[in-house]
Every structure is written in C-alpha cells, then in structure tokens.
C-alpha cells in the first residue's frame, strides 16, 4: 500500500502532464461536467489517495466483474484500477480461504469508516441467509458486517441494486437487493446486467473526485448515467416516429435498421446510458447489434412480460381474453336475457286491456 497520489503514479507510468489533463477532461465530459470543471477534476484526482475498496460478491454471475475488468479494456478503466486499492475481491485477489478473509478484516480495520463497499449479486434471505455463504459466513451476515464500516456502498449490477435475476419469480432463495438490508448507509445503485464499464468507473471516479456520491434519481441511480431513457437517445428513433418496425430479427426492416419496438425493445421504459456511451469502447450496443433493449437497468425487468413482447402489448393473450370474456358475457347475458324476456312477457300478459272506462281517475 504505497501512498503515491494518482498523479505521482501516472508519472511513474510515464504519462505526461498533458496526458493526465486529457484523462481528466475525458472523465469530466463523461460525467457531463462543464469544461471549466476540468482543472478542478485534475486537482482532485491529483490528490486522490488510493481509496480502499472492498468488493463483496454474493449471488452473482461475475458478469459485472467481467464487464469491469475485461483485459481488453486497458485504457481508463485499467488506470482507475491501478489507482484504487482493491483490498478484497474473490475473483481477482490471489489469496483465498482464511488468508483472503484475513486480508478483508485487515483492510476494514485499517480504513474503518473510509473504505468503499462495492457489492454485486443479490443477498438471499431464504434459510436465514444460508443459500449463499463465503467461508462459512452467510452473505447476509457478511454484508451487514462490512457495511457497518463503509463510507458508502455501491451496488453494482441489477442483482445488487434491485435483486436481479435471482429474484425472478418464484425467487427460491428469497433474494433481495442491498438497499433492502442496509438502510443507514448512503447507497448508489449502478444497475445493468451488467452495467457499462465506464458507468461503474464513472461512479467511482465521481466518488474519488468529489468525495461524495453523484446526484441520484428516485431509484438511487446516478442521474448522469441513468437520467434519460434509451428511447430518447436511440439512433433508430426516427423509424419509431414513422411507425417503421422490424417484424422479425432478419426481415427487410431489421436489415434496414428499423425500430425494434415490435420485437420487444424496452428502450422507452429503461433508463441507462447504453445509447450514448455504448459498449466495448463505443463499438456498439444491443439495439445497434439488432436486438431490442431488455431493460436490464430497471427493477423487475426479468418478470416484465417477456423480452420479446412489445411494450404496447399486455402480458396475456388479448385474443384469448376476448374469447373467454365473450363466453362469460354471453353466459351472463343469456341469463339476463331470460330474465328480461320473463319480465316483459309478464308485463304484456298481465296487462289488463284498457277501455274508455279505465281512463278517468276517481278524483
């Protein structure tokens, strides 16, 4: 654990002052900060001590980790990682067994109250938490224990943020999100399945730069990345406006890059930065590759009526509902009809013939 500042370390790696300033500009722009703040970002990053980060992985598929540490992303993500002290990460750390846990306790003790807790994966409550444990400690217990000394918690990935796929119906493990357990710590949800790498590092960079969490929306997601829905920034939007939809994944419309609304795209109801930041260093993103957005950064996206069911379609089969309802309507209607016929025929049959004698009231 050396105490070199970020800028000193950069110089060790042979990155010039200018290179460093370019890096700060990129970070600022990515966080939609105005250019005049670049010197401020630069100043903050220069002083940034290597924050201690404890990464807890619970019921997760390592997708978030995979997304974050892809080797072929050497640029700014790699730099960031060289400059945070990742004190505990199952997949990445060399140590294992007691040594690993010891390292974690050591880090916690050393940076109590200052370290950043990053969580991916949901926490099972079923069997009082014993569906998933690390070194004999249930995720539930470990989360509580580590969270206590954390300065802030970042739930990376939809599982940690909102429960994720483990929580999908019938949710056998009783999986829940971090925020459902930890109520007394500032939490940032960085949903996505997985989130975009630059979104994760962006949040960390923001924490590094400003020492506090970014502005969050009503689902505790950084507005800078989750403030707009995909649909509004989608390059296929004009086709949506003209009602030009691809009918199948390889029909003429699909080849022409028409809107994937009819193929279940959840862009309109999904808030994320895929359409702008895109994936794999801006190479592409789901829609651009011809597949509709599945709304992975939204709570409950896994049980939202199917990824390939258009947003304007209800979950159930409308035709079937109409038929069953029709049958019910006819049944009830027939009963009412019989009733009406009887009421009417009674009225007609019991009606006394009216003669001129029956017109005058005995007043």
């Amino acid at each position: 654990m050396d105490d070199l500042t970020l800028s000193e370390r950069l110089r060790q790696r042979g990155v010039s002052r200018r290179g460093f300033m370019k890096f700060c500009a990129a970070t600022a722009s990515m966080m939609a900060l105005p250019p005049i703040l670049i010197p401020k970002v630069a100043a903050a990053l220069e002083q940034a001590r290597r924050p201690s980060v404890i990464w807890l992985s619970f019921q997760e598929c390592t997708g978030c980790t995979e997304s974050l540490t892809r080797s072929h992303a050497p640029s700014l993500e790699g730099l960031i990682f060289d400059h945070i002290s990742l004190d505990y990460h199952h997949t990445l750390q060399a140590a294992s067994g007691d040594a690993a846990e010891h390292a974690r306790e050591e880090a916690m003790k050393k940076h109590w109250g200052e370290y950043l807790l990053v969580v991916d994966g949901s926490i099972p409550l079923g069997e009082n938490g014993n569906f998933s444990a690390i070194a004999g400690i249930s995720n539930l217990e470990m989360l509580k224990e580590v969270a206590e000394g954390a300065a802030a918690i970042v739930s990376v990935g939809t599982c940690a943020a909102y429960g994720g796929l483990p929580m999908a119906n019938p949710n056998p493990t009783g999986a829940v999100s971090v925020e459902e357990i930890i109520k007394d710590k500032p939490i940032v949800n960085v949903p996505g399945c997985p989130p975009i790498p630059t979104v994760i590092t962006g949040v960390l960079a923001h924490f590094l730069t400003f020492g506090k969490l970014p502005e969050l929306d009503h689902l505790k997601r950084p507005k800078v990345f989750f403030g707009q829905n995909i649909h509004d920034r989608c390059y296929r939007r004009p086709f949506y406006e003209r009602g030009q939809f691809a009918e199948t994944f390889d029909d003429e419309g699909a080849r022409k890059g028409w809107c994937l609304f009819k193929l279940g795209c959840k862009g309109p109801t999904t808030y994320n930065a895929c359409a702008t930041a895109r994936w794999n260093q801006g190479t592409s993103w789901p829609v651009e590759s011809g597949h509709g957005c599945i709304g992975c950064s939204e709570p409950g996206f896994w049980d939202a009526g199917g990824f390939y069911r258009a947003l304007s379609l209800p979950f159930t089969d409308v035709g079937e509902t109409i038929l069953t309802a029709g049958a019910a309507g006819i049944a009830v209607g027939a009963a009412a009809a019989v009733l009406n016929k009887k009421t009417k025929s009674d009225a007609v049959n019991n009606r006394e013939t009216i003669t001129i004698k029956d017109l005058e009231k005995e007043s």
């Binding site: 689902l219 009602g243 409950g300 379609l313 019910a328």
Partner: protein
C-alpha cells in the same frame, strides 16, 4: 409500488380484468337489449327495411342543416373529438401493434408527430365539449353524473397518452402505466355509462332506419 411494478400490473392482470369486464359487460348489455325483441311490422311495406337500416347508419353521421345552423360549434367539436380520438387510437404505431396481436393483421401507421398533434387537438376538443355542456341550458338540464363520468374516463387516456409520448409530468414508465390504467378505467366503466353508444348507436340507427326504409320515409 414503483413505476415498473405499476406498469407490469397494468400490462398484466389490470389489462386482463378490464378487457374482460368490457367485453363481457358490452355483450351483457347487447343481449339485454336483444332479449326484449321487436314485434315484426305487419303494415304494407313501401321499401326495404334492411336497406333503410343500413342507409340510416350512414345518414345520421351528418347533421341536418336545420340543427347544424343552430349549434355549429357543438356539432363540429363533436366531430373533432371523435375523429381525433379514432386517429390516435387506430393510427398510432404501438397501438396498431396491439390490434395486430389479436386481429392477426395490421395497417400502416401515421407518423407519431402527427398523432401527437392530433392528440393535443383531441384533448382541447374534449375540454371544449365539457365547457359547451356546462354553458348550454339544455345540456345542463339533461346532464347527469353518467355524462361527467363518461367525459372523465374518455379524457384521461388521451391526456395520459399525450403526456407519456412527450415524456412530461412523470418519467415515461410511470406515465405509460398511468396511461394503461386510465384505458383500463375506461374499459371497466364503459358498459355501464353512455359509452355503450359506441355500439348501440348502430343498433338505434338501424332500428329507426329499418322502420323508415320499410315505410319508404326519409330517415
């Protein structure tokens, strides 16, 4: 109940229940009407009943000059709000996707920019309809709770749809959920208010037209 859960409920059980009540309710009303039957007309006919019935369904789409001259604004506004409502409902891309899902066929959509404009006009027209209703002594006299309930449940879907499309007032997910819920409210309420006229208008015109056609009188 966050927006996504609300939307899922609205797209799931909400829609199912509403559609069931709508279809069953309307069929119930239809059968309740038909059950009362109609005595055949034995008078010597001059023309054909069915032709008259079909003709009247068309002729009553246009007002008579004498009545139009009396209330041009109210009548024209009636057209605006009906045609506007139909354009938004039947010619907007995503709506067509819904119809296609159970009809098995779709039709070309209007650009959603046009739909957006028509939606705005329809909302203004609906509000105008209420103002006209409140400012006319006959309508004030005639109107009952049923009229105002029918007005509200008809306005809400268009309003929420407009707000959703333009991403106003609330995030799109929530507004879309509210839009679907307002449609479901309309479907649930329709069979028990004057909104039954969406079907019974044709029956009424047919019955009067049938008699007129058979009698060889204009209708």
């Amino acid at each position: 109940m966050d927006a996504n859960e609300l939307l899922s409920w609205a797209r799931g059980p909400g829609f199912d229940i509403a559609l069931t009540i709508f279809v069953a309710g309307m069929l119930l009303r239809l059968l309740e009407i038909l059950a009362l039957g109609k005595k055949p007309d034995l008078s010597p006919p001059r023309g054909s009943g069915p032709k008259g019935g079909a003709a009247t369904i068309m002729t009553r789409m246009l007002p008579r000059k004498q009545v139009f001259d009396k209330e041009p604004l109210r009548i024209i506004n009636g057209y605006v709000l009906h045609i506007g409502f139909f354009i938004v409902l039947f010619l907007y891309g995503p709506h067509i996707v819904l119809f296609e899902s159970f009809l098995g066929f779709g039709w070309p959509a209007l650009p959603s920019g046009v739909i957006d404009a028509v939606g705005a006009i329809t909302i203004v027209s609906l509000v105008a309809a209420l103002v006209l209703r409140l400012n006319n002594k006959v309508l004030r006299f005639l109107s009952s709770r049923d009229d105002y309930v029918a007005w509200v449940v008809t306005l809400l879907p268009v309003l929420t749809g407009y707000l959703a499309y333009n991403h106003l007032v609330a995030p799109y997910t929530m507004m879309l959920a509210l839009h679907l819920l307002s449609v479901e409210l309309l479907l649930v309420v329709a069979p028990f208010t004057k909104l039954t006229h969406m079907f019974s208008f044709a029956m009424a015109r047919w019955y009067q037209g049938y008699q007129a056609g058979r009698r060889g009188v204009e209708s």
